[in-house]
Symmetry: C2
Subunit: 409 residues, 2 copies
């Protein structure tokens, strides 16, 4: 059963309840991510997520961890370009404590000393991130593909932006982003709606009311190729990006399926063409949708001597798909894969939570597992052809990280 | 609903079915592991698990992966000291193919060329294993603690035993271990019992009938301390073992709870005494039960200069628990943690499968989630005291891997 309520301060409360479930999952979905940050505060959303676990007036950092632990919660948080999410899965009797603690996380006290200590932790995280070719390539790809667009930046921020961040700037940023209309409190699993409402009123209504803008300019990527020279690497890591439907597009289900057919990590066109014969170590295509934008992202890892021919082979696979579409058999197999993933992910309240919060945040909609499966089952070869007409597979942006010091566009 | 049947060839078919589940998980539990191997064949059970995925008369290695993939299966296998398990989670309509494929895995054709290629893969795996201090310490601990006992050996085997293994010896070993009475076919989730039985008759009845012995001598560890000198490591990895109840002991639930109270990786006695104050990087106690044996295993990672004082601190924690037991509050918190873990793990058919197969293999018993929770809830401070009287926490075996070249017993 689906329930929904808006608190006077603007917080949306959502629930998908099931008295047969053995657990309950609860989370805050905050419309606050890298794309909302001015450049001088780059990384502040992610840094704030770290600071959230340092407690408030009532709870110390140690208390937060201890109490989550005492109730046996499975809990965590993450920050993306578009959101920050705090969540926990607990036994039904511990929902009140979980809501209390998670609400605490959205109102951290931001103590000076902890801010400085955590800054060092984040700077180390940036250092480790920069050691990984995949992370470097991903950041560089976004930077090139979304040049001048809010989706361009690295979620962690840079040594300069994080190093220069002040606690006052973080407080101001928090005050503008962690406001009622940017917050969704979502609950999945075994709980009573009246009890959820009461908990929401007690804890979530303490968030300040307010609204904040999020501009959604259209990205206008221009063909770019960039090589980041790391002679010490054995392999060349290549990432390719092309335009794809946004999260509001009705074509997004077809795009998801197309990415599985063309670039799933097993049994896809790219897999049989490049990975299975050993031409490269990995070659995968994925689809990511954002508000107002979307990309097909191809990840390739191979011997640097074979990078150019492999990119050409990817382009040939793309051209063949654009010209002749996909087969009914490929469509059917991809539907099986995606249906399995939807179902296996949905069996636990924790697995439903992301879908519940995400669908609402992205499109203000609620979808059951059955809705998702029906959306999937109804796609035809013609839908895929429509998609390919509007969003052909193409390589707009190319980034390489490794021994090569130049790449062809 | 629980169902059970024995096929004429001795294969046990078990099912815990639930028409409300969205998926079905199925697996073979084979009573075949490192403890069953003669020393000259050390590692053969694990090697066989690898060879299983190379197919039979009908399916090539590529077919096995392709077909699992086409039905969107989530599948894998693992080998331990006591069993080899092959499993998959699929949508209910794909159960017949999943049972067919998993049955294929239990009767691999063992082609010469693939055997030699896979031998190289295993030797590389042994090499990587030997690069990891935790793995080296774990193997050395078992070797010392179970000296002369079937549980002493490393699951992967050694370069010598694997390098010297012949395909004929593997065939003979397979013929003696993969026989009816050593096989359990278990199914959890959304399926029909009659359909399960029919699939079992079609596929699992092809296993040869037969029985094999598994001796269960009692281990008799004598206090030992061994340092494996790795001057290039920064940290000292220390592992400690003491006696604990076997998998047939009624004390095993209490032992599980005691391990959480004393040595869980958050909020336990060892955590607050050693990890939280920064005396070591990690210090955890876990309980592992085997047929006819059990151990408490403490894992410690720290600055080599502090290893001796940290081991002494662990001993003090153990002594305090042995002398004064644990508090009602500690018991209650640990019950919450363990109950959460049981419930969160049980929500998917895939999560129930291990419990269904394992309980039957270990004790010929079936337990529902509710049974497990009731067993947990009924434990008292007195039960823990009884356990500590029979199995006090003690350090019998000590192994260190790292810069130290000597360790005190």
């Amino acid at each position: 059963m689906f329930y929904r309520h808006t608190l006077p301060n603007g917080v949306t409360v959502l629930a998908e309840l099931d008295a047969e479930a053995h657990s309950v999952a609860v989370g805050y979905f905050v419309r606050c991510g890298r794309r909302d940050e001015p450049e001088e505060l780059a990384g502040v959303s992610h840094f704030l997520e770290h600071m959230a676990f340092k407690g408030d007036e009532r709870y110390s950092a140690e208390d937060v961890n201890r109490v989550f632990d005492e109730i046996g919660a499975k809990y965590n948080a993450y920050t993306s370009h578009e959101q920050t999410v705090y969540y926990a899965a607990v036994l039904p009797e511990h929902l009140p404590i979980a809501v209390d603690l998670l609400s605490t996380l959205t109102r951290p006290i931001l103590r000076d000393e902890e801010f400085e200590l955590e800054k060092q932790v984040i700077l180390e995280e940036i250092g480790m991130h920069d050691d990984q070719p995949g992370s470097v390539a991903y950041d560089a790809l976004n930077e090139a593909h979304f040049a001048g667009h809010p989706l361009a930046g690295s979620i962690l921020g840079s040594n300069e932006s994080v190093g220069g961040l002040t606690i006052e700037a973080m407080r101001d940023y928090h005050a503008t982003r962690y406001v009622g209309s940017n917050l969704i409190l979502a609950v999945c699993g075994n709980a009573d709606w009246d009890a959820v409402l009461k908990l929401a009123e007690e804890h979530a209504s303490r968030a300040p009311s307010g609204e904040t803008d999020r501009p959604l300019p259209e990205p206008a990527p221009r063909p770019t190729a960039r090589a980041i020279h790391k002679p010490e690497n054995a392999q060349e890591t290549v990432m390719l990006a092309g335009n794809a439907p946004s999260n509001a597009s009705p074509l997004r289900h077809a795009a998801e399926l197309l990415s599985v057919i063309v670039g799933d990590d097993t049994g896809s066109r790219l897999f049989w063409e490049l990975v299975d014969p050993g031409r490269c170590e990995a070659c995968e295509l994925s689809y990511t949708d954002f508000a107002g934008a979307g990309i097909y992202l191809t990840y390739l890892s191979c011997d640097p001597d074979r990078a150019a021919e492999n990119v050409a082979a990817v382009r040939e696979v793309f051209d063949a798909v654009n010209a002749r579409g996909i087969t009914a058999e490929e469509l059917e197999q991809a539907k099986n894969k995606v249906a399995s993933r939807i179902v296996l992910r949905s069996e636990r309240p924790m697995g439903r939570l992301g879908s519940l919060g995400g669908n609402w945040q992205d499109r203000g909609e609620y979808k059951t597992v059955e809705d998702d499966l029906a959306d999937l089952r109804r796609l035809t070869v013609h839908d895929l052809r429509d998609l390919l007409t509007k969003y052909p597979l193409e390589i707009v942006t190319t980034v390489g990280v490794g021994p090569l010091d130049t790449l062809e566009a």
